[in-house]
Symmetry: C2
């Protein structure tokens, strides 16, 4: 079935959750006028609906193919990518100096949500480019910026992130790839990287690889890591010493080639430092934090898409009788419950994700507190919104009954595609660890406490207030806990904090609606918001016991005895 961008929902969240009009008062985002916002939402919607959504099924069915080092994307992909470049979509929030439009990240988020909803396997390619643009812009030399930035901002070339190696997944610091100085300012990079998304493809003439490697004499662990820009094609037009050895056979996102990349098999791939030597992690985190928020948007987009598909099916499919008349399954209480739940989770995840991007935008116009808040929110967006994507996609299958399990229906693809999001760009367990190990203590705890204080000042629903109380106590206790106890509690704490923040934001959205904003569709939004506050928030309170579990409990048996 076709996809329709939720433009009016997106606009409401931008207006009343992000409060984008406040951003437009700054010089930097003066272009983000209401008319511009509408034009972007409308244009992104048309591109997603007209160009990307029609390729989603063929992408899943055909997948990308690897033959002798070359990767062929599915039929129609090249043409769609060319139109993506033509439309200038890659540069929406890109730096003006490099040809971008410099619009807010929160507006770009709406665009990326649409692209994810329409065709997440396609959208992954530009998503990585967005991160690379940030990293090169913030840490790259003027020469590198001149050579590469505008090409990535235009979409003429794509970019990749190369962290993972067979022995170095969550433990990035265990990576072994090497870089040695070539004597002319460039470096010779060698090593094997795995799980490299769009590491090779036929969409563009060049691919800009951002590669983590160790320099001679570098210390062990993450402190010894440097970031290199390693292009597929060198500035003089010759091919670099790198290649795609194979691609993976995956559960979902079949059209997105997941590559094993070999660098320097013939002496060393030529690359250039991004940021200082040994400064790789900091430069990579610029890229990764962007990517983490964007992976959260994959959850939002797939939740939106799955909800639309389920509602359409439930309105069409008739089963049983109510009051003597054949009834659409949407009118059966438990199906309606599922649809309301799907919508509630989707609205809440969107609100949380856009809000986090909005905090980044505020940081970019000088609001340091907002920057810290974005840091606190990043693991919540990545962790919870991707869990939401899986839950909603799974509910979407359930709404379809037996048809949901049949691949041609399309509902199953959403779950298969969504299932990667809790894993890549730092597993959700890593996000939870980041939340309890760094984020609740950021700025001496002030960053997290400020969020709680804002919620407390605003929250009206009694369940929301209850969750605030509960979380405050649990976080205070986590701060004083042993590292292992804190990590044992981390996942439920992350979920509780995300649900609380999202609940606060949808309550805010609900007040705007009650004040007359939104118009068409407000009854649906109101039902979803009430369900979120009355049902989903209390479920998060129920996670409190898990956040009180100690390491002693889960470590009482040797792991061997768990199977």
């Amino acid at each position: 079935m076709s996809f329709a961008s939720p433009v009016s929902d997106q606009r409401l969240v931008l207006d009343h959750v992000v409060r984008i009009a406040e951003l437009a008062k700054s010089n930097r985002f003066a272009e983000a006028t209401p008319d511009m916002v509408d034009a972007v939402l409308q244009g992104a919607a048309e591109f997603a609906e007209g160009e990307l959504a029609p390729l989603n099924t063929v992408g899943d069915r055909e997948g990308s193919r690897w033959v002798d080092g070359a990767v062929t994307t599915p039929p129609g992909w090249r043409e769609a990518y060319a139109r993506f470049v033509e439309g200038g979509w890659m540069g929406l929030s890109g730096p003006v100096e490099a040809g971008g439009q410099g619009l807010p990240n929160s507006l770009s988020a709406a665009m990326m949500e649409d692209f994810n909803a329409a065709n997440v396997a396609f959208a992954l390619c530009p998503m990585l480019g967005l991160g690379a643009v940030e990293a090169i812009d913030a840490h790259g030399s003027d020469d590198l910026k001149r050579e590469y930035l505008s090409k990535i901002v235009s979409g003429e070339w794509t970019a990749t992130m190369n962290l993972t190696e067979p022995q170095a997944g969550s433990d990035v610091g265990a990576l072994k790839s090497k870089a040695v100085p070539a004597g002319d300012g460039s470096w010779k990079v060698s090593g094997t990287k795995i799980f490299i998304t769009y590491g090779e493809h036929d969409l563009t003439d060049n691919i800009v690889h951002m590669v983590l490697a160790r320099t001679p004499g570098a210390p062990d662990g993450t402190k010894g890591v440097s970031l290199f820009l390693v292009p597929k094609v060198l500035p003089d037009g010759t091919p670099n010493d790198l290649g795609c050895v194979s691609i993976e056979h995956k559960m979902g996102i079949h059209a997105s080639p997941t590559c094993v990349m070999a660098y320097g098999e013939e002496g060393g791939a030529t690359g250039w430092l991004i940021g200082p030597e040994l400064g790789g992690m900091s430069a990579m985190f610029t890229m990764m934090n962007n990517a983490r928020l964007n992976v959260g948007l994959q959850g939002v987009g797939l939740a939106e898409r799955a909800t639309q598909r389920a509602v359409a099916y439930a309105l069409d499919r008739k089963q049983g009788v109510r009051a003597g008349l054949p009834v659409r399954i949407a009118d059966h209480p438990d199906v309606r419950r599922m649809l309301v739940r799907m919508r509630a989770l989707t609205i809440a995840a969107r609100s949380l994700a856009y809000y986090a991007f909005g905090q980044l935008d505020r940081a970019n116009v000088g609001d340091g507190e907002a920057g810290l808040r974005a840091d606190v929110l990043t693991p919540l967006v990545k962790g919870w919104c991707t869990d939401v994507g899986c839950e909603v996609a799974s509910l979407g299958i359930q709404v379809h009954g037996g048809m949901g399990f049949i691949e041609e229906t399309g509902a199953a693809q959403h779950l298969r595609d969504a299932r990667i999001a809790p894993i890549y760009e730092g597993t959700n367990g890593i996000q939870a660890a980041d939340f309890v190990q760094r984020k609740i203590g950021l700025d001496g705890g002030a960053a997290f406490d400020g969020l709680i204080a804002d919620i407390r000042a605003d929250a009206q629903h009694k369940e929301l207030i209850l969750l605030t109380d509960e979380l405050e106590v649990l976080v205070a206790s986590a701060r004083n806990a042993s590292p292992d106890d804190r990590l044992t509690a981390s996942y439920p704490l992350m979920t509780m904090a995300a649900v609380l923040t999202a609940g606060w934001l949808v309550e805010r959205l609900g007040r705007a609606i009650n004040a007359g904003e939104g118009g068409g569709g407000n009854a649906g939004r109101r039902a979803a918001i009430e369900y979120f506050l009355s049902v989903i928030v209390p479920e998060a309170v129920g996670l409190g016991a898990g956040a009180e579990a100690t390491a002693e409990m889960i470590y009482q048996a040797p792991a061997e005895e768990l199977a």
Copy 2:
């Protein structure tokens, strides 16, 4: 990786949850001595590990193929099925008069759990046979029993369930297939049935289809439905007028052919009534209740398999450092949390499912109250154990990190296979409706209240007592609620009741362990049981708000506004 049957866990549950020794005191189950129980568990383990598990991957990769009406199962399937028949596994709990061993259903449950864990797509075929045996034994004429029962009990022929038609899914009463008398006591059956598991295959020479159809002048709805036995090959050796038109392309269980069946395209397929005319639903429910409990066991089996795979990977895979040494990921707190959770859910789901089969066994030796309890438990086993299967399989993917998303790892197949179980044999929403519409009111409410009273008399953990209190209030309120309010609350109520009952049973298991039973592996069991009671039970308390949600809340917006 290889599969190892959890024989000692199964034995503990049979001994201390089912209390199979009490059953063995009856004449009917006198054969179920401790030695026999061990022999069956050991034999089933060997068959599952040695014959079925090695075919699980090829089954997923190759699937069953349809060509011109014939269905070819994957390489190795025919040989494994022949050995299944040779081993006499089909008749373990089958009627002695038909060549079965007449052992308890609760023991057969352990066998089916193993077969599901090893290869659920294979195990589906005998699973449907078990239901057919019950239905023919209870409702079939002596002639039909003589002709068909021993052949199905031996496994020489397989059997299918034919309810669903394109317009009649959850609403079985909407079916249109017809049967008219042929004048010789047989009937001419015609119509199209969809989603028919193993409707056609190459494992046996004959397939016995159990088909619901309407007789001339029958009333609308389920009251007008009769059950027919329609064999692929007629007693005189000629082919019947029926065939497989196509098979489905599914998310999982690829090796299990899901058939569209056409009956009577050339005048009518010959069939015979099972039970009286218009008595089809009652006969079918005999079959379906058995199948529902068995689908619950698919959740248990896949949870067990996913847990084994995840633990093995987490013990093998090293990432990061603790106390200066490389560490297995099983030793990272959040990974350990996932493993303990997987084990906890698996043990609890097994306890609930086996207990329900044990109640059926008690009913079969004359305990009427146990029969009613089995009725109460059936939707809980089907609904919750299949949800557990999906949750644990998804956690299993997560434990593997990026490798979990790669098909060759095997973890993804478990989720793809598990995802059908909440859908077929009555969606979990239908189970929830059955629970609140019929089961909480069964025998004037005494059946459910008796369960609660037993739990209350026994439960010691404070969270379990809290959940008992909570559920009792919510069920009392559901009994007095409007039908729509009751259905709105149905899913969370079903989950809460299942978690409560499972929690009670694992606490019982824990007491046996503390009294010295079990031996090796008890530390792991203790950790899992403590986690279930301390963490998972409180999560179920958190579902209470959803059980208090009213139809007014979810119906406040037209369904069109939910997308």
